[in-house]
Symmetry: C2
Subunit: 608 residues, 2 copies
């Protein structure tokens, strides 16, 4: 049996000295949860192989309140895996111990620090345990009371209850104080209890500084199997150091050297040799289906197929070959066509309802547990999860996003449903891949490229049916492009993708009849972009026209200009610039100046 | 007394014929709420001047379930303000009746269609009534059951209760069916009731098709003054037409001509001459403070002031002159320095807690009611509300955003807290203004420009203290720039803003010592951008270097390349390209290659 009191004291000691050494950080937010974490890790419930943090059957621990990182690092120090010397590198350049937890530290499951996201990530891991890997590990998420104001938390709450995740345990550290004062409910724990219960969880209210009660709560959590469990703990911010305890004005402040000395005096003697023992996890292997070769792509030329439908068809085709491929959709699977996958592989499909933030957070949790989640909704509604997408890049996520209903070409539904900033959103993610196919064959091939690729990918699909442009044996790759029309007499190169490529081909025919030739480039890979082909086109024609069903900023024009930044030529951008509205797709392409007519005009204007 | 049964039948008739004529749209989602809306508008509770939809003391009605737009248009037709002829233009190009409500239709309060946002907008309007205009109008929000999965709804729920908005009434149309099947809870209304009550609202469960009960519920709502009221109505999707009623597979589908004939047969005789009378609003004027001239800007040269602090100082300075200016902050006012405004003007400051989506939705509601809301949080956390920002552009919003803690120069807190994609986010908003000042004087002046400007503006501020660069009488404007260093011998033009401008000035001095001159441009207005100055710099120097504490995509480099697209010169971009991490600000600027050293190297490389 571990000396929990001693370990909690040691953890407090580590939290205090590391932040004072750093000169910044969050000691008070660490101290409020020190007993909770000592009780969890060393009280007998937590099962973890310290030498193999990625072991599939380890229990998972996510610090949703990522600013309590000093506590996070301190508990692994108390487990014997971080030396005091390393703790004292907290927040320094090149230290694995960053200001908020990141994968630079090997015990971090997921980067946190944008509040309200950890429960969704934990939900993804718990879904993985229950529905995919079929493993008995449990997932614990430490939450702050301030972050309970984030709607994303309540999305995770409702979906966790819906999926009956009895292996998910929330630990709510109600220390009463937010960054600039009291939280909405202060120490009224009954409100949290009522909300948590109303959302279908099993709540228990405890004294977060009384170790026997903490240990019992975790034991009870293990008894509940049909619904998630929330430990609502009354705590004091800065607990254990009288002059910062439960005091406003001490958020995110490290103690000065003299204050630290006083604090350590109060803390009393710390046994720095003490190490907590963590229970090992049961030996168990993830359930895993065998991989069998996918059927080849087979589209009939001259048939019109919407790329959004090709997305679903491709997922379904690839399912046998990629057993880790799972699909999440935000209650629009009959529009994104994720339903095609669902019908053949319901066990790997998750309905995430209209709660995009949680959907992306859960996908991150699945991704960290080795799955390759494909996440779909309307492109416009992926903006709802922009912060979750942003944060996922700091967890080395392997998530494949698909945004359907891109651009004004969706037509009658109007502006609210049109994805017009999605390329800008996904281009501004470090190392991201942004793909925008124009026909069913290229869509299918690019979905397979996404399945093979490790990292964050985005695929943009189109609502309306479009002609097949490519043969089934055509190859597509990340960073590639296709030059569909080319001659030595090209007056300009028109760079397009998706719906505007079809407009460009119409413009090509119209111009050809007048004896004017243009180069036509299908820029299906918007990021990374095919610099060589674009530079050649610039050199050959001296003038580039980009056409995109997207706002003028952050999309294809910007990508092309960046590619040409060393030896630039004029780039004329046709893009969505007038207030979008309802109408027929063709009318709207015309209205925005991204139709065949507009392309013809731009080419002729260049020649005049 | 209105003939409510007859009006409800007429509204159903309009909803059906308009969608069939359009060939698309959502008749079934309209029919489920037809009785609720007939009861609201014509049952005696709703008070509205039909000839003056913008009248300040009108009751407000927001269709959060914007896809029920046929119903929305139908109720105003039943009130005599839309002809059947106009109804039949639904979803056609140039019709005010778009697929989802927009301000193109004069009775639309706010554009909706991205689910889960309407309650926040209503909350802003209700806050305005209670706390600013001090008017007795009530705000009604029609919600769908599917959208209750959105976390943003629960943010609005908790904040409405916190602010005791007894003038806010939600109407929850529980028709059981979402887009692709049943919702999470189907017709179990008790779950909604439990959740709504737990979040501090007064819930009432009714039969949403029984008009006397509906009318009574609205009367009761008017009796509750200390908390918001939610009418949870059991309804049937497609109610009134047997072959679509409560049937899956009928979401977002218009009836075919023959189906319409059968439906109208079932509906029975409709009195197309019938018009509902709406109660007029009480005559009342908004409370309004007098405007008095603001004090002039006065910063002492040679003092270091963080631009984030200058933001708060400027708001406080401008408060007397701009009585419509209100400030919202996401529980970080001591970091964004919105607290400086709060301390002097608490009656115009709203703590919105860590719930950014609702904060932006509420700001939109305030903006529509004539206020000029300034909204602040960390730049990184504005991404949390990207969809609300996106949607606000379709409501002609007048919102001024401030994102603090931009870039890696925040230092030790690490990647999760660094705004590195915020410029990309705000540039991709139609007609937006993006400002990025580098010192306190320019910040103050630009905050005033934002206060004067009607529209969506974004101001990016820096965490660390920076030197004052400008005199207090220097002028700054939207679309402007400052050329700080210029000569006829400039070897390159370096374009920077914010923290990197200071690095550029250091680089200038270092290069000057070696006899190398560069042009230095402060691009404080990133959108719109000062094309003339940039083109002149391109012509004079033939080479541009951009330096930005932002990811390489969607930021200053893209803005500059766009400005030069007609007569381009090479643009070399220094931006954040390595995985961001914790460290000292200077170390991180160095690590990312956006420091003075990197600028010097880039200039020399250009010359070699």
């Amino acid at each position: 049996m571990n000396d929990l009191e001693g370990l909690a004291r040691l953890i407090r000691y580590y939290s205090l000295v590391s932040t004072t050494e750093a000169g910044s950080g969050h000691p008070t937010s660490s101290l409020s949860a020190a007993d909770l974490m000592a009780g969890l890790l060393f009280g007998g419930s937590f099962r973890f192989d310290l030498d193999d943090p990625r072991y599939p059957n380890n229990d998972r621990l996510i610090f949703s309140k990522g600013h309590a990182s000093p506590l996070f690092y301190a508990i692994w120090a108390a487990a014997g895996k971080v030396s005091e010397k390393v703790l004292l590198t907290l927040r320094k350049s090149n230290s694995p111990l960053e200001g908020h937890p990141t994968p630079a530290f090997r015990y971090t499951e997921a980067a946190t620090g944008s509040l309200g996201q950890g429960l969704s990530i934990g939900l993804g891991m718990a879904m993985n345990a229950t529905y995919i890997d079929k493993l008995p590990y449990r997932t614990y998420v430490l939450l702050g009371d301030s972050e309970m104001a984030e709607g994303s938390v309540w999305e995770a709450m409702e979906i966790a209850a819906y999926y009956k995740l009895g292996n998910l345990v929330g630990i709510l550290d109600v220390n009463r104080l937010g960054q600039r004062g009291e939280t909405m409910y202060g120490h009224d724990l009954s409100i949290y209890k009522r909300k948590v219960a109303a959302f279908g969880w099993e709540p228990i209210v405890i004294d977060g500084h009384y170790l026997p009660q903490i240990v019992t709560a975790f034991q009870q959590a293990a008894q509940i199997s049909d619904r998630p469990y929330m430990i609502i703990a009354k705590t004091l911010k800065g607990k254990g150091v009288s002059f910062i305890e439960d005091k406003n004005g001490w958020h995110g402040k490290a103690l000065k050297k003299d204050e630290l000395a006083r604090a350590l005096q109060e803390l009393g003697p710390v046994d720095k040799e003490l190490r907590g023992r963590i229970e090992p996890p049961p030996d168990a292997k993830p359930a895993r289906a065998k991989s069998t070769l996918a059927a080849p792509v087979s589209y009939t030329p001259d048939k019109r197929v919407a790329t959004r439908r090709a997305y679903g068809t491709s997922l379904s085709r690839l399912a046998p070959q990629y057993p880790d491929l799972v699909v999440l959709d935000g209650e629009v699977s009959n529009s994104t066509y994720a339903e095609i996958f669902k019908s053949g592989h319901p066990e790997r499909f998750f309905e995430m309802f209209i709660a995009e933030q949680n959907m992306v957070g859960a996908a991150l949790g699945l991704s960290i547990r080795g799955k390759a989640p494909f996440v779909s909704t309307f492109a416009a509604f992926l903006t709802r999860a922009a912060d979750q997408v942003r944060m996922s890049q700091y967890s080395n996520a392997n998530i494949k996003f698909c945004g359907s209903h891109a651009g004004v070409s969706i037509g009658e539904d109007g502006s609210s449903q049109m994805g017009l900033e999605d390329i800008a959103l996904f281009r501004a993610i470090l190392g991201s891949v942004v793909l925008y196919p124009s026909d069913a064959v290229s869509t299918d091939k690019l979905v397979e490229e996404m399945a093979k690729h490790q990292g964050i990918c985005y695929l943009r699909t189109t609502r309306m049916e479009t002609p097949i442009l490519y043969r089934n044996d055509e190859a597509f790759w990340i960073g590639g492009s296709k030059t569909l029309k080319s001659s030595s007499k090209d007056k300009a190169a028109v760079v397009a993708a998706g719906i505007t490529l079809h407009e460009t081909l119409k413009a090509y025919e119209a111009l050809r009849k007048e004896g004017i030739l243009i180069r036509v480039i299908d820029l299906y890979s918007v990021k990374p972009v095919d610099v060589a082909t674009l530079r050649q086109a610039a050199e050959d024609t001296g003038f580039i026209i980009t056409v995109e069903d997207h706002y003028a900023e952050g999309g294809i024009a910007d990508a092309v200009r960046t590619a040409l930044s060393k030896d630039p030529v004029p780039v004329h951008s046709l893009a969505v610039r007038a207030m979008p509205k309802s109408g027929k797709p063709d009318e709207l392409l015309e209205y925005e100046g991204i139709s065949a007519t507009a392309i013809v005009e731009a080419v002729k204007h260049r020649m005049s």
